[in-house]
Symmetry: C2
């Protein structure tokens, strides 16, 4: 199973990038994955147009068989163990490719919500994009350490 | 109103420290606050003893009138706006000092749970201590921007 972390635009702070790279490297021990940073489409100043453009760029990346997990405040709150179970289920179902998607500045368009197989909330609190990126990388890494019965995770 | 962020031991990664310092600086525009990093009591190898020692160090810092917010996975999940309301309520109640507490490696002892005025969960997911520190600093900063009607927070 391959994992793609999909988001728009670069981090504002090098420190976040460094930490994301740290978990990127660690995750290599557990799964094939990549971080796919799409270029922000030119700002139209109109959130609706912006989301539509981003939606098109997202859809271009997806095959019908891909399992799309949208990160959104309105989604399901699950535990770290819950995320590991979700990944295990997809492996059991022979899913070839999982996407973790963080939308643009205005969130995502309705067609992306409709396309999503799962909507996941990392926190009820509003996170910066940088924070959400770092947190999902760390949680996916954590999920694999749980599935492998390793020491990183305590509960 | 003064705020103290109280936790044990140093961050493992300089990048987290840098980001925590970033929000520490930004928060100076809004409130008197400090980060109080207590030294881990010597590891006894026994979680119960460890938590008890930490609990004593925590209690030494607290006056009876201090409002203690314990960060714990089992706590209330609230939105960023909810956190701003919580802070506003304490200001309205003329609370002189709020503590945000992150316990040690094994969490906190029952007397600290009992002393807490509020137990707050940043996420249902298990966070590293570094991540929890960064996130609470960012969220308290965010809360003040909300209270001041500033642009940082979107919802």
């Amino acid at each position: 199973m391959k994992i793609t972390f999909l988001w728009f635009g670069k981090s504002k702070y090098k420190d976040y990038d460094d930490l994301i790279n740290l978990f990127d490297k660690r995750l290599k021990h557990y799964c094939k994955h990549r971080i796919l940073t799409l270029k922000d489409p030119k700002h139209s100043g109109n959130p609706h147009v912006q989301k539509k453009k981003e939606g098109q760029l997202i859809m271009e990346q997806l095959k019908p068989s891909d399992y799309l997990i949208l990160l959104d405040e309105t989604g399901q709150s699950i535990t770290s163990r819950g995320l590991s179970t979700l990944l295990q289920k997809q492996m059991n179902a022979s899913t070839a490719h999982i996407f973790f998607l963080i939308g643009g500045a205005y969130g995502v368009d309705q067609p992306i919500f409709d396309r999503s197989n799962y909507t996941l909330s990392l926190s009820k609190m509003t996170l910066t994009h940088d924070m959400a990126r770092l947190l999902i990388m760390e949680q996916v890494y954590r999920a694999f350490t749980i599935l492998n019965g390793e020491k990183y995770h305590n509960d």
